[in-house]
């Protein structure tokens, strides 16, 4: 007989409102062609304020793949990709998205292919064909190559623009997080390319770019980012009033929704609900016993499942690299009246675009700030960018903070790589280690 453990999660109610904003955004995108809008497919950093100001509809490739995975709808796109020749070991974001490209191209042809007509309609017809691509990928070399291949799948007929990002390796002695000669030079280089991108968009749309609209959008995004940061800081409270999973549910709004008052209102709501929980003593995980840091890109197939799984053990996942160190996370860098430099800097601050030295600094700081007891590393099978430094980060956390860690297998958008028993046994083992160390007084 299967015994279902009681759900000990207490998720933020406001995220439902966020869910509605996201649904509305996608519906608008799916009907953008009918409204005469041009459509851009893009990947990497959040260029949406530029697209918003340019008056085009935008589809973020990773976000679309994540959406399909979260809705358990990634299968047909991945099947189409596999039939076309993409290996299952390829980044599942790109594989899913390229599968959509293949379906789109097939849909314009004879409709042949391994994916049935119903699914083709569901995926390809709803995701409108791009009028152009923009790549804005920092950190992972695969990101830039992925869009180049999309360009080729569409027969080189869809214009493409690449924004290149230097990897923040930190060669110079003055290099560090948000500082040093390399940081300054890289910031300027990317900002210069954004100016080029805007000229290119003017050519593609046949309209002058609306700089005031960009400033307005960034005005709202800066406010939303500040509210988000305030909310994140509130989660340092013990026990945690909200978890990493609540913030995961708020990734889409901060990552690609339009910069407007609704976005600000949403993050004000998030912050206020968290503050209200602190004021009234409401916990995010019933009986919080352990505080865990999550390193790894999200496993979108298992979002709700993982939040319950950790909570079953009294483990409150309080922070993670994908949240604390991503998505307009340094709003003080943003200047709405002259926005490009701060935007460029955030694209460079992608959490996979740092050498291990900087990541180690950020991880240790987060673990200390959030009073973390252990780290769960999501060994994300097809994401080499996130997983590369994980072993080094685990060793450093143990050495410098005495924090144990565990690894579990999964993936961003391919459920087949997730092994539940491995997570269960390794999580239990790490929590036991924490218990033993507490008993010995070493934690």
């Amino acid at each position: 007989m299967t015994v279902t453990a009681p759900d000990r999660t207490n998720r933020l109610a406001i995220t439902r409102a966020g869910g509605q904003l996201i649904t509305d955004y996608w519906e608008k995108l799916f009907t953008a062609r009918d409204e005469g809008k041009q459509i851009v497919w893009y990947n990497g950093g959040a260029l949406n304020p530029i697209f918003q100001a340019a008056g085009v509809a935008w589809c973020h490739g990773e976000a679309f793949s994540a959406r399909l995975a979260a809705q358990q709808m990634e299968g047909p796109a991945q099947l189409a990709g596999a039939e076309y020749g993409y290996s299952s070991e390829l980044c599942s974001y790109s594989r899913t998205h390229l599968g959509c490209s293949v379906l789109t191209v097939q849909g314009e042809g004879d409709g042949s292919g391994v994916v049935g007509m119903h699914d083709q309609k569901e995926l390809a017809a709803r995701l409108p064909r791009p009028d152009f691509f923009v790549n804005n990928y920092a950190g992972c070399s695969t990101g830039q190559q992925w869009d180049e291949v999309s360009y080729r799948v569409f027969g080189k007929e869809v214009p493409i623009f690449n924004v290149s990002h230097p990897f923040l390796w930190g060669n110079k002695p003055d290099a560090g997080y948000l500082k040093g000669e390399e940081w300054d030079a890289a910031s300027k280089y990317v900002a210069d390319q954004l100016r080029e991108l805007i000229s290119w968009l003017e050519f593609q749309t046949g309209r002058p770019f609306d700089w005031d609209a960009l400033s307005e959008s960034m005005f709202y995004i800066k406010q939303a980012a500040e509210l988000r940061r305030e909310g994140l800081d509130l989660c340092k409270q013990k026990p945690a009033p909200a978890t990493f999973w609540d913030w995961i549910a708020s990734v889409a709004p901060i990552n690609f929704l339009p910069g407007d008052q609704a976005l600000v209102d949403y993050f004000a709501g998030v912050r206020d609900e968290i503050q209200g929980r602190i004021d009234t003593g409401v916990q995010a995980v019933e009986g919080e016993k352990y505080r865990i840091y999550f390193d790894g890109i999200m496993n979108w197939n298992k979002l709700g499942f993982l939040s319950r799984k950790f909570a079953e053990h009294g483990a409150s996942v309080v922070a993670g690299r994908y949240i604390q160190n991503a998505f307009w996370q340094e709003p003080q860098l943003l200047n709405p009246s002259d926005p490009l430099l701060g935007m460029a800097q955030h694209y460079l601050l992608c959490p996979t675009n740092h050498g291990t030295r900087t990541l180690d600094h950020l991880t240790l700081k987060d673990c200390a700030d959030y009073q973390v007891d252990g780290i769960a590393f999501h060994s994300t099978r097809t994401c080499r960018a996130f997983t590369g430094p994980q072993r080094l980060l685990a060793a450093s956390a143990e050495k410098n903070l005495g924090i144990p860690s565990m690894f579990f297998e999964g993936d961003v958008a391919d459920a087949s790589f997730y092994k539940d028993e491995i997570l269960e046994s390794r999580l239990a083992a790490m929590l036991e280690v924490i218990d033993v160390r507490r008993e010995r007084g070493s934690m």
Partner: protein, 385 residues
Amino acid sequence: MTVPAMERLVRAARDTRGYVAAWRAAHPDGKVLGVMPMNFPRELAHAAGLLPVIVPDDQEPVTEGRALLPEFYCGFTRNLADQVATGRLDLYDAVFMADHCIQLVGAADVARQLQPETPVFFGMLATSLSDAWAGQKVAEMMNTFREEVEALSGSKVTDESLRASIAAYNADRRALRQIFDERTAGSTAWAPTELQDLVASAMVMDPVEHLALLELARAEKVGQPRDERVRVHLSGHMCHAPRRELLQVIEDSGALVVDDDLWTGRRFLSTDVDEVLEPMEAIGHWYTSRNGNLPCPTRVQHDADWDTWLVESTERSGAEAVIHLMPKFCEPHMLLYPELRKRLDAEGIAQLLIETEHEGIPLEAFRTRVEALVERVLRKRPAYA
């Protein structure tokens, strides 16, 4: 007793540590620079008096390195992590890298964290080569490389010394390329493993020394015309060598390798540095033109098509089939492979995908698959009267 030239080249190719030790003995004040593939201009380091050695996959099994990078990193990068973990990477005074492959970055980061006394410099060359500003950014990075090798060696890179290094590497590349061109034209003097050793040794040795040995080795070779085996082109393995035993199995299975675009083959030799241009300009031009001469899926360049290059290459060599050698987990290759397959299918060129691993490759399974490919091609050949 004098060691034959070919044997010396083979030793350098297969025993980097041994060659470096001998070089250090002969140059007690000299420094050795480990160069990560694929595009760092060794000419700059050589002109500064360094010995630039392209760090190879040393074909040793991965042991302690398993704990440093995930198992789904490519075999080469896991091997590099293992070289760090077991002290095998300590033969370099510094490591330089110019290429942004996220898995290679991961391996280099392991080196930097575990060997903090060894400088690991990463200067990322522009990868989006269709951009109007790419040439300028490449030139800036080449100047940075120049400053860094000067700082490491303590010697200035003068235009004169750089011209001499460019000429030396060009001469070695030309001689190697000539051998590959002879194979394309019909010679079977060299087995694929021998050619791999010739190129791999060039990645390790001083170019003047390498060229001298190469000329001696060539003089000892007698050309042989092609036989009736099925002519194949080997494609892939863009940053490290395929296992030698795999190359042997391919030729043992009724195939004859007539051309390639491997890292330890034509890819490495594709482009000389222009000796007419100003030397720093020429170094930048070398990098930006390499991808046009032999396209690589790690670069983004809209008018450079590996599939077209492959088709034209098979026309030049008379290859009847293409064998794709794809290192497991190599994302650039995984991404572009369907485009290659589609184009070759359209051209009616037989092909076979072999996914390679660092160790534990199923040779007998590969043999069966290559034999099947050979059979397929033979059936397409016109029947003899």
